[in-house]
Symmetry: C2
Subunit: 385 residues, 2 copies
């Protein structure tokens, strides 16, 4: 079967941006089209990954607006929402659009504009994805993270500092990312002494509120060389859900959606975790990096924290995790994050990651994008062509 290629990628600077959502989406979309060497008129399908432009900015119909702004008319255009994993879901939908034969050229643009709202307002929108019964009891995503972190540390005898080291590593990586929101290193002590948000997690265990956008261009591999010699292929992609009601889960330290989507993506690619050279994991909270690392099969359950403390996930380690800086330092504009993860893998596989470039020519990369508290998960595996 003809595989699906990614022939262009881009991301805007992440952080506090003055532009509104439509301009952010157009900025990333235009840059990805330039990277792929295409024009708006070439686009047959346009997907816009975005959770809440209506709630955040009072603007809906954004797929149609972007289609006109990027001169893609009369391309089919739809908005894909899967909360924080909207970007990953967009990758899966873009893959389906090409694999089904419906589109020979698909543009995916993910983005969110959030910093103009107060943290309370943003939290209120994001928390509305939880089950109303849990929300009514005051549980939000950060509190799920705190509860899970406590259980993980106790169950697997992991030191609190191991969580801090996730933040330290990802901030260090982010220094080399010109598009990252925070380009500064932090120390373990900085994390450990920052204010408690959801015990045992502290301020520096959390990703920031961010504006930004990222974009990708897809086509059948059989057509890719008509546009460029620098492309990667999606060799595996799958999505899975876990319970909407988080307290229905038997073991909060395992994310079922990560396990299921990971197994399906590896099966589709015909690869094992050992084959992966680089991965972007969804470190919205530091604890999530441990869970995904284990649930994807990179370590046994309860041993993921050791990979971090032993430096095995550093840029020069056996499996570098979040070379982009991750959500932790790069930022987390909801609909953009899953797209930006693939952008990082794309650049690393093509040797275009500049100061972040891994030395040993990675050939297989993985992105894991998590919505809610593992409610929806997309795992994507990419390979050099």
């Amino acid at each position: 079967m003809d595989r699906v290629a990614v022939i262009g990628a881009s991301m805007t600077p992440f952080g506090q941006r003055e532009e509104w959502i439509l301009d952010l989406l157009a900025e990333a979309g235009q840059a990805a089209m330039v990277d792929a060497g295409i024009e708006g008129a070439d686009v047959q399908h346009l997907y816009v990954s975005n959770m809440a432009s209506g709630e955040f900015e009072g603007q809906t119909g954004i797929m149609n607006a972007v289609a006109q702004d990027l001169n893609c008319l009369p391309a089919y255009a739809a908005r894909i929402d899967q909360t924080s994993s909207s970007g990953g879901a967009g990758v899966y939908q873009a893959w389906q659009s090409v694999a089904s034969g419906a589109s020979d050229l698909t543009l995916l643009v993910g983005g969110e504009k959030m910093t103009h709202r107060t943290t309370a307002e943003s939290t209120d929108v994001i928390a509305s994805l939880t089950h109303p019964i849990e929300y009514a009891h005051g549980v939000t995503l950060p509190s799920f993270a705190g509860l899970t972190a406590r259980k993980y540390l106790e169950q697997y005898d992991a030191p609190r500092e191991s969580l801090a080291e996730v933040a330290v590593k990802n901030h260090k990586n982010g220094v080399d990312n010109p598009n990252a929101q925070f380009r500064k290193e932090v120390e373990v002590e900085t994390v450990m002494e920052s204010p408690i948000i959801a015990d045992p997690l502290r301020l520096y265990d959390f990703c920031p509120v961010t504006d930004g956008s990222a974009a990708l261009v897809f086509c059948p591999e059989s057509l890719a060389r008509e546009y460029t010699d620098d492309y990667v292929v999606v060799s595996g992609v799958a999505g899975a859900t876990d319970t909407h009601v988080v307290h229905d889960r038997l073991d909060p330290t395992t994310m079922g959606g990560v396990v299921e989507s990971g197994e399906a993506a590896f099966g589709m690619a015909g690869l094992d975790p050992d084959d992966v050279d680089i991965a972007e994991l969804h470190d919205m909270f530091t604890i999530l990096e441990f869970l995904q690392f284990e649930d994807l099969g990179f370590a046994a359950k309860g041993e993921g924290w050791q990979a971090v403390t032993e430096g095995r996930t550093e840029k020069d380690g056996e499996i570098p995790i979040n070379t982009s800086g991750g959500l932790k330092s790069k930022g987390h504009p909801l609909g953009a994050s899953g797209v930006a993860q693939v952008h990082e893998v794309y650049e690393q596989l093509l040797g275009e990651a500049g100061p972040r470039q891994l030395a040993d020519d990675p050939e297989v990369g993985l992105a894991c994008n998590v919505g809610g508290f593992g409610n929806c998960v997309i795992t994507t595996i990419l390979e050099r062509a």
Copy 2:
């Protein structure tokens, strides 16, 4: 190529419902699964078509909630938004999920809960799909409809009563639909004497505000008979966009998205408008039925109104339009409408439409779902297997 089959369909009663969005979606989803003879565990992909559960009810993440409510875990689940054509876009995405091989069983559920909000609140959410410059000047979808209706009547020398006859026909059809919001006939005089909303359009030229849901089950045709002998196939489906800024269009009496998606869907199906035995058109405003009738090729431009006044689109006419009652009498819960259109075609093609059933065994049906003021359009063609 293996075609995509629709093996189950359902809709809830449309109207003013006490249930909230998640219960409406579950109600339709469960009924469609029963119709198809499947269980939640069989579902591999779940699509939820919905424009604005966040704005209308403060609940996001609904794709994940529905996945759990219908016992579909760990199925991949995503929300599809294309404003009023979210349902049609969901049909297209469901088709892609099966045609790409990503899913062998896809459940699509579309719905919206709106009547608990005031008309002003609903209008504010819906109008947010328009371009901010147009909205700032006070233009909403009803005013675009009024402006277009005036131009149409003048340009094609059509009587104002011809628009009223769309409402009369669709209300008459709706009487036989147990799920329709309004099951009462209206007279031309009732329409002509109702309050002016957007001159020359009056109250009875508009669809109501509605709660409701509808659902469909898709699988490869090669697997359909494992579930049922009563199924239809999607022989053509396509989407297209027109300008976000409506005043950028050269001729408001032609909807480019209808023309483009219609031509693509007919091309895919290898059919012509003459082959269509029944169609559901998006009569959010009466004028839209004329425009789609013409732009899909059922009549020459400017002659669609005559088909209505001459009775050719009645149930016993040469091409019955909106046998379900249309959005006009059945109601228009945004994310549900495109799904409910296909539900009507499905029932008619299978001879299951009860008192609405057409006498002459229709074999080919079409659904045209319009988002915004023709901003996004999906055309779907279905055939008896």
